[in-house]
């Protein structure tokens, strides 16, 4: 018993597109899926060139694919991952999906016909929109995860681990290309007093506000991270000591003049800053530069806070004298 009669109802029900063309790109057949999605009727497009019916097709690209099918008698494929769609068709989830057109996996298969010697190609179009949407969600999530992995949860600046990694890389780069590099370490003055006066929420508020304010004062290439508690670090690539001190002075002054409104109260804060430049011969490890900047920061604290101190070459101990 022949099952040939089944082909027609199955093709009509099939949730994939089927288009048959010949070696002159003329349409011999297309199924209901294509008729509905592309708003065409087989009776109207039969015998017409596929490139005139579907005007948006990437013609040169598709012809090359089709030629390989005809010449080699082998299938050719196209995946949504490389080319989101070949046929510009709307898809079935216009509401819940972010993409406008149906993502497609297409197979181009050589067909043997009993009725004619003319070579035919069957183009199968499968809707891959769901996979496309999942992939988009996944990519977005991965980007967010990556960001979360390098961000400090509270202040949104770089976290310590990532910041130190960046410092190592920047030092490496500066040494290789003989570029200057400077580091600023700073600390919120009397943070404990702020916490006592405004509560921990107030303290956190100040950290968040200042981190965001200081970020806005920096260049894109500067790397701003939270070193711990109320201590932060800024890596300044391609910047010598003089330039770094200038930046620090500007930040220090701007912070002192920056009022923050918390629960109808104006909070003013100040910071103490230590600046050190990478000295290629002395600073072999990133810890060495941090230690120098930390020494300068300590001196700024001892000198009365709300100021910038820079590390002087040869300095090995914290300044003993208190101003």
């Amino acid at each position: 018993m022949s099952h040939a009669w089944l082909s027609s109802p199955i093709l009509a029900q099939l949730n994939s597109g089927v288009i048959v063309i010949d070696d002159e790109y003329q349409i011999h057949y297309l199924n209901a899926f294509i008729e509905r999605h592309a708003s065409v009727q087989l009776s109207e497009v039969q015998g017409k060139s596929i490139f005139s019916v579907f005007a948006d097709l990437p013609e040169a690209w598709l012809k090359r694919k089709l030629m390989s099918v005809l010449d080699l008698n082998t299938p050719a494929f196209s995946s949504w991952e490389q080319r989101q769609y070949i046929f510009k068709l709307p898809h079935l989830r216009p509401i819940t999906s972010s993409s406008q057109y149906m993502a497609q996996n297409c197979s181009m298969l050589p067909l043997v016909s009993d009725q004619t010697d003319q070579p035919l190609i069957c183009i199968l179009i499968e809707d891959a929109t769901d996979a496309f949407v999942y992939q988009q969600h996944l990519s977005k999530t991965l980007i967010e995860l990556e960001r979360a992995n390098r961000q400090d949860g509270l202040t949104k600046v770089l976290n310590r681990r990532y910041w130190e990694e960046q410092l190592k890389q920047e030092i490496h780069r500066a040494q290789r290309y003989h570029h200057p590099l400077s580091l600023i370490l700073f600390d919120l003055d009397k943070f404990k007093d702020l916490n006592d006066k405004y509560g921990h929420l107030g303290g956190d508020f100040v950290l968040i506000q200042l981190a965001s304010f200081i970020s806005s004062l920096l260049r894109d290439s500067d790397l701003f991270g939270r070193y711990g508690g109320e201590e932060f670090g800024i890596i300044l690539p391609d910047t010598g000591l003089e330039g770094a001190v200038e930046v620090a002075e500007r930040i220090c002054q701007a912070v002192a003049e920056y009022p923050m409104l918390f629960n109808q109260q104006t909070i003013r804060a100040s910071i103490s800053m230590g600046v050190a430049e990478l000295l290629p011969k002395q600073h072999l490890l990133h810890d060495d530069v941090i230690r120098c900047a930390d020494m300068a920061l300590y001196n700024a604290k001892r000198a009365g806070r709300n100021r910038v101190c820079s590390y002087l070459a040869g300095e090995t101990e914290y300044q003993k004298k208190v101003n």
Partner: protein
């Protein structure tokens, strides 16, 4: 190397079929690419799939390599997965030959196209001779990164018992292009192929 239960006659028969398939493929490719294609007699080996990663570790070490997989299945339980391995510098060569221009298509698409053409022309020729016909899955790039080739192969070939390793070397006029093709074949499919080989041998 174990014979994996293939008799000498079966092995000879398979080598002959592969030689002819390769000849057919090179003829088609030459006409398609409009250039003379010289194909060496492919060296084939049947190996346990677990041997595959170590074997390619050296050859693709320190080079940018790519690995493309394509499934195939036919009648009488013939099925498996074809993996084509390239050094990327070789892949760039053939892309120019296929008429791609820089920026025209993505590197991945270029790779899947080349692999699909190589795999399906060869396997179609093979299927013809055993009076079979094959269907193919879309080719998929498993990796195109430096290094991690062997661990990827290890993960890929782990579930497969047998591998038919075919070394292919295409020499085109003014170009030379090398790649390796591995046909990974699961256990019961190998038995099915042996049955087909026996039938062919009987006919002689």
């Amino acid at each position: 190397m174990s014979t994996l239960g293939f008799s000498e006659e079966q092995r000879d028969c398979l080598q002959e079929i592969i030689n002819v398939a390769m000849g057919l493929a090179s003829d088609k490719l030459a006409r398609f690419l409009n250039t003379f294609v010289h194909l060496q007699v492919p060296s084939i080996a049947l190996v346990g799939a677990s041997h595959i990663p170590a074997e390619f570790e050296n050859r693709y070490q320190d080079t940018e390599a790519a690995l493309v997989s394509q499934g195939f299945f036919g009648n009488e339980g013939v099925r498996g997965e074809a993996i084509v391995l390239y050094q990327m510098e070789n892949a760039h060569k053939i892309s120019a030959l296929l008429g791609y221009e820089v920026g025209d298509v993505s590197e991945i698409e270029m790779l899947t196209d080349i692999s699909s053409i190589l795999t399906t022309t060869f396997l179609n020729g093979l299927a013809d001779q055993i009076e079979n016909s094959l269907s193919y899955s879309a080719p998929r790039v498993l990796s195109s990164v430096k290094g991690d080739m062997s661990s990827l192969l290890r993960n890929t070939s782990f579930h497969w018992e047998h591998a038919l390793k075919v070394d292919i070397s295409y020499q085109l006029v003014d170009h030379s292009f090398n790649c390796d093709m591995i046909l990974l074949i699961p256990g019961e499919a190998v038995t099915n192929i042996q049955r087909i080989l026996d039938r062919i041998l009987e006919d002689y």
